[in-house]
Symmetry: C2
Subunit: 354 residues, 2 copies
């Protein structure tokens, strides 16, 4: 059984014209590029070249107001943080509480707004610099509607129906959302004059970025660059999802919860210790190994670990413990920082109408 | 040849369940009810009854940001003013510069905003009380988006496609507009607790009001009341339209322009003076007479005038002069007041986000 983490990304490369990150020259010296968790892209090379030339650049990377931060966000947010820290560039973080509401992911607008504020606070705890980070919460920064209206004039119902998969029985709030999403994506360029914008996303968001890139062309704007991270599997071996608590490690989980989830994680080991020692394990499907490889260990350590696992020199339980130790340290660090986020910092990062 | 001013309204009564204003008890003592220019309605009786009981009432009546005020607006705005003056009730005036833009009636958002500000000023000159009048200009009061999003969750694409006649190749801004329009209409009730809202409109807007009334029910709100004015013909005998300068008398027209247009007005007179004196004219198709009857004269005077016209005792030229005198006086009064509108008054009537 081969690793299947890159199925969606490979489709983007083979059928939808995305490039392989591995073929981009002078990749940044950062783990998300070395481990391969940033797998495919559109115009990432152009973004890097503009960055190196000192041109105005920005990162744009949204988060869903219905969810809560989990370990699946790590690759994207670490990448964003890397660029902010190394190059001092601004990071715009749209939190679409309008979309969460019209898609039925939250019960009312109040819940969407509450989630948005919580997420903004958590992201500051994650490490984003309050001086260079801008949260676009749609219910607060309602002026985004004006930009969405502008962009909406160049995209028709048929196009968004095809890209977003909406149906005639879906509500019209949902049907308008692509205009808001494009407004988020093109905001740094249109409102702030930042022509080089990188949007790190999961591969499932690519169709929407293609619409935004098309809209950019129609307004003679620069197409935003896109980086696609791999889809890591859920801890339980299924699909990772905010609505399945055992599929992900949340940044709000306790050490006990984390260790419990990881103990139940899908493993590539054999049924018995004896068999494992004899036949060895399969790291390519071992969830703990995949998280260690893509999110926590450097290339050399990951490779050595895989070798030992294949040879049966490391047991599944040991692999789980390695992952659990990393996950616990990561989450516990985050939780310590969360307590220290100042309301003043939070306030100034949230975009206001005037 | 019979008067054809009420074709659209009759359709609303016969096919779409509207009532006849003439059958409502205790109609207000105001010319728009006596002349019959307010022809059909939905729940107008309920509104009147709430008004008389002293319940919280409001008028809501929009204007298109692509247009400019003309004599065709008179019946609706005079009715609104009557209620504001007699009962002191607030008047909300949405100016949909977003719709003007997404429908291509203005070239950009800047033009829409400029038109909106001009219209607000003109409406204050028209006589609306700055203390009780609220302009909802969508590009300024972008918080309307939040209410539109709420309402959008209970109306789907198929419904608005049927009511508004949008096509898949229309842009998604246009597709979302019905949510904004319903937000305008339900704003006084949802945001200000005014349960009895009257919306005076032309008969062509009824389909949209039906959608808003349906949405109101879905949120367990009171359905807004609706008054339909007659469609007066264009001065030139065709359809009145802002884009055909000779079809309407604009409130910005000079006396010379007004008299020139009315001299060319479609008339119900005979070809020669001799014939006219012998056979008499037909007031039912005489544009000047219809405007006099519906907008300027009391019932008795209008009736007498029609009689004389039928008998050939009044010539078409004389009829035109009677209309032109009224129109010139009306427009000139307006223009004098326009010069006196204070920027401070204007400022305080325009709704802001915070």
């Amino acid at each position: 059984m081969k690793e299947t983490v890159n199925v969606d990304n490979e489709k983007l490369v083979k059928e939808f014209g995305a490039g392989l990150v591995g073929t981009v020259k002078d990749l940044p010296d950062f783990y998300t590029f070395k481990s391969g968790v940033m797998y495919s892209h559109r115009d990432f090379d152009k973004f890097l070249s503009a960055l190196k030339k000192g041109e105005k650049c920005a990162i744009l990377s949204g988060v869903n107001a219905s969810g809560t931060l989990h370990i699946g966000h790590k690759a994207v947010f670490d990448t964003n943080l890397f660029f902010q820290k190394k190059y001092g560039i601004p990071v715009f973080i749209p939190i679409s509480d309008d979309e969460s509401y019209v898609s039925g992911k939250v019960k009312d607008q109040e819940e969407g707004l509450k989630n948005s504020m919580r997420l903004a606070k958590e992201l500051l705890a994650y490490g984003f610099d309050p001086k260079k980070t801008y949260f676009i919460i749609d219910q607060i920064y309602t002026n985004i509607y004006n930009l969405a209206i502008k962009l909406s004039t160049r995209v028709n119902y048929s196009e968004i129906k095809a890209s977003y998969g909406y149906r005639p029985e879906d509500n019209i709030g949902l049907h308008f959302y692509p205009a808001i999403q494009s407004a988020h994506i093109l905001f740094p360029q249109i409102e702030e004059g930042m022509k080089n914008v990188l949007v790190p996303i999961g591969p499932d968001e690519d169709a929407h970025l293609r619409i935004s890139r098309d809209i950019a062309s129609r307004f003679e704007l620069v197409k935003p660059s896109v980086l696609h991270s791999l889809f890591l599997p859920g801890i339980d071996g299924g699909k990772m999802s905010t609505s399945k608590p055992n599929s992900a490690i949340f940044l709000s989980d306790s050490e006990k919860e984390i260790r419990k989830k990881i103990n139940k994680a899908f493993s590539g080991g054999q049924k018995t210790v004896e068999e494992h020692k004899k036949l060895g394990g399969n790291p390519d499907v071992d969830v703990s190994y995949l998280y260690l490889k893509y999110l926590f260990l450097d290339e050399k350590k990951a490779k050595a670990l895989a070798e030992k696992y294949r040879k049966g020199k490391i047991l599944s339980g040991e692999m789980k413990k390695l992952f659990a130790d990393e996950a616990v340290a990561f989450v516990s660090n985050f939780q310590k920082r969360l307590k220290k986020v100042s309301e003043k910092d939070l306030e100034k990062t949230i975009m206001k109408n005037d």
